[in-house]
């Protein structure tokens, strides 16, 4: 009888159900904030015994069709800026390639522990700074009684929109203004680099579109789905070329995530704009603690601090994964709660 390739696992009913449910919650969050559902899927697959590279590849292969369905859905509500999404996505592809190179270099120089430490520190740094700011801004907007009216463009975005650099200016409908491509380039590259590092580029992409370019939060989160589609497609080609995609895993997760992404997209039409920031900021800050817990583990593996007890490492890893799952579930509960209240109103 023909057997599966050596690095692909056998699937059972409970595994399939687990992936379907994680896919649903991930899809719900992605459909709502444009990103953020993917980071828990790779560790979730790895917890079933899927090798890291196959988990990353299969995650990528479910991500681009999910993002496509989500962006088409949100385009129906007039929330997507296709031009910005595609340009941003192409720049992000450059970032993905650079990010992958950096990762490879770190892995070759410092080994797996070094690579894990780099990923965790990136999580802590980005989520700590950007996440706290997004959450602070969400709470501030919440107090503002006019938060359901059009969002105000921030100082930085107004400055960016006022800069005219010949031959690089492009009009974007989401910004209702022309912006130089030279401002979008670093944002796109940073988004791609983050995606290649922690699997969620949107934690830079969405705040970047909101605070640097001046896009309203609903449009930024919807346009991020286009960026995720472009990056996901590029990433899938890269991994599938090397034969790492387990199509079964990708399609099982997709089965759950398409239910979620549609529901999350519908949810955006029920809530005030600050809710996007609130969900994103909350998830980012909770995940920050998840990764921060793992920093001592990797430092110990690199012998930069005293060796940690094996039991303690196991506890820290389990708690870290649990916090990550909690972050995503907490985000899903906020979205469903907000939808529920919106529907009743």
């Amino acid at each position: 009888m023909e057997s599966l390739p050596t690095n692909f696992i056998d699937l059972y009913f409970l595994n399939v159900l687990y992936l379907f449910l994680v896919g649903f919650v991930g899809g719900l969050v992605s459909g709502f904030i444009g990103s953020g559902g993917a980071f828990v899927l790779t560790p979730a697959m790895m917890s079933l015994g899927v090798p890291g590279i196959v988990a990353v590849a299969s995650n990528m292969c479910h991500k681009f069709p999910k993002a496509l369905v989500g962006s088409l859905k949100r385009a129906k509500f007039g929330q997507v800026d296709w031009k910005l999404g595609i340009i941003f996505g192409l720049f992000a592809e450059i970032g993905v390639l650079i990010g992958a190179q950096v990762q490879e270099h770190i892995r070759n120089t410092f080994g797996d522990a070094g690579s894990n430490l780099y990923v965790s520190l990136a999580f802590v740094l980005i989520l700590g700074t950007v996440g706290s700011f997004v959450l602070y801004d969400a709470l501030k907007s919440r107090k503002d009684s006019n938060s359901d009216t059009e969002e105000k463009t921030g100082k930085l975005a107004r400055w960016v929109q006022s800069i005219h650099i010949p031959y690089t200016m492009v009009y974007f409908k989401s910004l209702k203004a022309k912006v130089s491509l030279l401002f979008i380039l670093p944002l796109g590259v940073a988004t791609g680099m983050l995606a290649a590092t922690i699997a969620v580029g949107g934690f830079i992409g969405v705040p970047g579109m909101m605070y640097v370019l001046g896009a309203p939060s609903l449009m930024a989160s919807a346009t991020e789905l286009v960026v995720a589609f472009v990056m996901g497609l590029g990433g899938t080609i890269k991994f599938a070329w090397s034969g790492y995609v387990d199509i079964r895993l990708a399609m099982i997760i997709l089965a759950g995530s398409l239910f979620g992404v549609q529901l999350g997209a519908i949810g955006t039409t029920y809530v005030k704009p600050y809710m996007i920031k609130l969900v994103m900021g909350t998830i980012m800050v909770i995940v920050l603690f998840s990764r921060a817990l793992m920093v001592p583990v990797y430092l110990s593996q690199l012998e930069m601090i005293a060796t940690l007890d094996k039991g303690l490492v196991e506890i820290l890893s389990t708690v870290s994964f649990a916090i990550m799952v909690f972050a995503l579930s907490f985000g899903a509960v906020i979205i469903l709660g907000a939808m529920w209240r919106g529907r009743r109103a």
Binding site: F77, L254, A265, I266
Partner: protein
């Protein structure tokens, strides 16, 4: 919603559901050859991508119809808060 409209929606949901079941049953039955084919690398990268597009098209329609059938619809801009 009128009974006729509801009936049409139910038929559409069932049809898309049938296609989805067909695709996943196909994936289950053809699991091993399909996994071998898509994991060969090189130009067979087109395989996973084509499969992903096909599943997203069919399942995307089904999930859209599913929420709609349950009455979970977007709030139109006219009645937005």
């Amino acid at each position: 919603m009128s009974t006729q409209k509801r009936k049409t929606k139910t038929i559409k949901l069932l049809l898309w559901g049938l296609f989805v079941v067909g695709l996943y049953v196909g994936l289950y039955i053809g699991e091993k050859p399909l996994v071998h084919w898509t994991a060969q690398g090189g130009w067979t990268f087109i395989g996973p991508i084509a499969i992903a597009f096909l599943f997203s098209f069919v399942h995307g329609h089904f999930t859209g119809e599913f929420w709609d059938w349950l009455g979970i619809k977007p709030k139109l801009s006219g009645d937005k808060k």
